[in-house]
Symmetry: D2
Subunit: 349 residues, 4 copies
């Protein structure tokens, strides 16, 4: 008989929460027992997300009304700050619950960095120390025993999957990394903001949060681990008129290697990874080719500028960049086959 994992989704009224539910409904081991969304407490999920309205799901409740006895795993898509308090309470009251946090609250290991970027002290620094960074392909062993898994942000996921192996091999200069990132509008969430209205974001392109996006320190933390030293990375995101999809174009200075070497390193490193697709020379990653799936596609290109290379990665920001990766981590943590429930083909066109 299949193992059952009873799952709570906190913050189920956001896009990340909805995609978690979408994937969980197709996962053979997951039973959704708790769905919270404080602003919508009392409503059925179908009132908030009609595309999920025809399934047998618990009604939305306030997070304080959740029955923690009914869950083995919690997926948390709450705003930062709030997240720390609630996860802190769960960790104290129910240490046996596995927590997969999709917010930014436990990603930065250095509390000072957290305070600098998020504007307040970390509220449960002891718990922070326990958190494992949930970039599955690079933290798999640590994940197996983790109680609290801090799932990476969408941009860091794509960037780190592309760069960690080659930085780790010393093939590129970690001190000269430029990441030009592009995201679909769903990355901005379901909150009401003028700049994400259809008439504002459609048929247009703009950068945002230039030189001050909160995913930068997260990228730097992990690149730093791979490089063995502190680094500062250029990270510049842009808003693209599409709902889903994320592409990072990484401009790199080679360190005694060629672009072909980089590709070779990535191919070898990811040979056994079910969701990683390093493209052959000349092929272009495209977000439309991973849409709705947990795949990450990487292309490597020699630059015309001598001594430089370009590495480009594409993911679906809501799947591999958030909910899919969180379930991938759950699969690892609960000893399931890692691809369980995550084998959706990309939806193209």
């Amino acid at each position: 008989m299949t193992e059952r994992i009873r799952v709570g989704v906190l913050g189920a009224s956001g896009y990340t929460g909805a995609d978690l539910v979408r994937l969980a409904l197709a996962h053979p081991n997951m039973d959704i027992t708790v769905l919270t969304a404080n602003a919508h407490a009392g409503k059925p999920m179908g009132a908030v997300f009609p595309h999920l309205g025809h399934h047998d799901l618990p009604d939305l409740i306030k997070v304080e009304d959740a029955d923690w006895d009914a869950v083995d795993a919690v997926f948390c898509g709450l705003p930062h700050g709030t997240t720390q308090e609630i996860i802190g309470e769960i960790a104290t009251a129910r240490p046996e619950i596995r927590v997969f946090d999709m917010s930014a609250d436990f990603r930065l290991r250095d509390p000072a960095a957290y305070a600098e970027w998020y504007g307040h002290e970390h509220r449960v620094p002891a718990l922070q120390r326990e958190a494992v960074y949930g970039l599955t392909e690079h933290y798999r062993e640590a994940l197996k025993a983790a109680r609290l898994i801090a799932c990476p942000g969408c941009y860091p996921t794509a960037t780190l999957l592309a760069l960690l192996p080659i930085v780790g091999e010393g093939q590129v200069d970690p001190g000269d990394i430029i990441v030009d990132a592009k995201s679909g509008v769903s990355g901005a969430g379901r909150g009401l903001k003028e700049n994400t209205l259809f008439s504002e974001a459609g048929e247009g392109l703009s950068p945002y949060s230039v030189a001050r996006h909160r995913h930068a320190p997260e990228i730097e933390q992990e690149i730093g681990v791979a490089a063995g030293r502190d680094v500062i990375v250029n990270f510049t995101p842009h808003l693209v008129p599409m709902s889903r999809g994320e592409l990072v174009t990484c401009y790199l200075r080679l360190a005694g290697a060629t672009a072909d070497d980089l590709r070779e390193t990535l191919i070898e490193r990811y040979a056994d990874e079910p969701f990683m697709r390093v493209l052959p020379k000349g092929a272009m990653p495209a977000t439309q080719h991973v849409r709705g799936s947990n795949f990450c596609t990487i292309g490597v290109f020699a630059d015309r500028v001598p001594g430089r290379a370009i590495v480009i990665a594409a993911i679906d920001n809501l799947v591999k960049g958030s909910s899919g990766q969180a379930i991938q981590n759950m699969n690892v943590r609960f000893g399931l086959a890692e691809t369980t429930g995550l084998e959706q083909m990309p939806l193209f066109p």
Copy 2:
């Protein structure tokens, strides 16, 4: 052990073919053994559809090179005319192969109607007589023994699912039906046409084939069956700047019934249908809520004009409107659970 169905996809380089492959890869009983695309013979599928490039699939071949010994079922997405010849050959040479035709070639029972709308005589009229119209929810019993299944067009699928029960019950006047239809651009196929370029179709809306679209006689044929008499239906399609999705808005004259009666009829008729979702009063069908899935959503509204009602249905044109429905028919034909491989949740956003 699970029954294996060896599947050939003819015309695999079109959107319908690609979506068939996408769904087949996730279907527990389907093994793709033959993929044809004459213009691309010799290439791997990934060269034509990169999003499918990382799966174990046979290379594309010419249809004349297909090994019919290697297939139990054929899904045919070829242009009309060509389809008749090839299916005619298969039917003669290998009568045991089950054919699921996604083209228009076997949908019209009346050869004269075919000749009128398609500009040439039907080439295998005997075979035409044998074909079963593959609107699963309405022809399920006949499908179980069919050798050749003529899967409906995308527009007829949505329209007939919405209208057949209420026409059959005599609740609306079959002589006064207006169908204003709207489709995403993928419905026009992958062929190179100026009007489906991004810069032409984007940020714009236009009608096309007004009063002369080939789906009209197909709709009329089936409405006629339900009504027990010949009918002419207004059918006016529009091209909408989205890739997937189809919505039909049907304007109806009531025949002694109310809009609530219509909704009740549809709810009862489809109560046990796994892919049919008749919405509660006031809820609006939306293509984005069925995207990528095999669901059909129907809303029923009283018109302000006395004695009139509006019935609106939404589907994904490539899934329920084509490949998904074809697989649903295959499931019926091969005695599998009808939802096998078709339980993908809609992809929203």
Copy 3:
């Protein structure tokens, strides 16, 4: 020397207001002297609409701080209800100011209809009686002496331009009119609503306000005038994933005329109208071909259903459907050439 018209725009932070300003900046006779937006008072226009930020415009102020001495004409894009109060005050205090109201507040001549559809009594019914309905092509003479011009809604504009001449000629049955309408998302305004977020409205299509949209009584009022009797019209709007553009598909029962007769009537009626383009037989109206312009394109088609015809009109909802038509009315009212400042070509692609 060119006549100067000093112009105030009330509600300048909405899309209608912004497009009015865009057009006014290119108009040789208009000087913008007052811009109000209560929620943004004190800001420069460029803080609210960056695309207008590099022009010499007055800062946004509260409507109560407007200096009515500084304006000859007021364009009003305020929410309904509020509009009545403010225009009422202007009319009393400064009867010499010409008011071009782009809200719905003075469009319905019957106060009972207003109360029924808008949920409260009309606040200045005397002023209502004075208002002229600003469908330029059909009320030109009355407009020349009007003090208060109630510019039509976007849907009524397209619908009435298409239908009034043929209803007036008795060529179609005014009792059997079905208007399937489709609009770009800008029609929903700049207010923050979940359903107009990019990730919600993009790549999808849905009906809304079925059988209860407030533009229905406005259409019925004017069709009724042309028909010489009360009518009820089916009017069903849909939200289309594009920013600008509106298309109405009108299903009509012929009254002793043919589709060719209808086209002929429209061609004759609009022969001297600079913004009306009745297309030749077979040509399809498309919103992308009028984008950004004040043009209205109309196509006429015989239905396959005997005795029926289809008339389709396309406009830019923000230009001919709102701000452009308002300026057209101003040109008429102030005795300028009607096309002054409105000769922008459509922006395609």
Copy 4:
């Protein structure tokens, strides 16, 4: 009386040609006397571009049938190679005609570079030597006497407007320039290509021509002039799901200057330029805010990486990036006010 300039548009069936016609129709001095499009010879312009169909325009003819007596200025939007031959013939036969070439054929001053990037020898190298590079803001004086003006590519226009002043001032290292470029789909032209179909390009993002795009040598040529030495620039374009718009994000190493210094240089350099808008600190360029207009918007940002800066420019690829700039050059060449016919406001939303 206004000076009349009789204008021929060669290659009028492409997007660049159509936008040239759109702008010319609104230009007080331009009379279109010749329109060529070999594949559409004999058709009216409205058959090829319905949005231009209601204007008094000459029918399309073959370029060999053009009456050169009827033109004072030629705008050339032909494919490369062909361009050289036709312009060569015009230059010989009618040296008094002013030629504004919008193709790539006369942009590269070095014939070897042309041959390398375009795969064949330049066919009229003598004429090449005479060509003036039509980046108006930087070659204005030379343009005043030019017979042949090689209008820059869209990407070079945005990039060079952003970089030339600061490279010229020695404020950034010309040897370390990375240009991450993003363009709307209209930049790929109206030719039929699978990757520019709506269903392929929509809802997706991908790089293309990485490290081998033909705009790279053009950028390098001009940066080299400003730097006083040869440079190689990283240039990586991406295809964005929008019709119009182009944004270049330039990653720069500072040379003894700060980001504020760069902004100051740009503000000073462009203070009197009517189409250049250097944004205040913190403001983000956005393509939707220049759509349809001849404006170029530039933002300057300090990078978090010490010693680096980011300069971002947005244009409409078809206007400032092509047809608008060509007309701007014509205005200069014919002694008109430079903004004549080019004062269209951006179309937003």
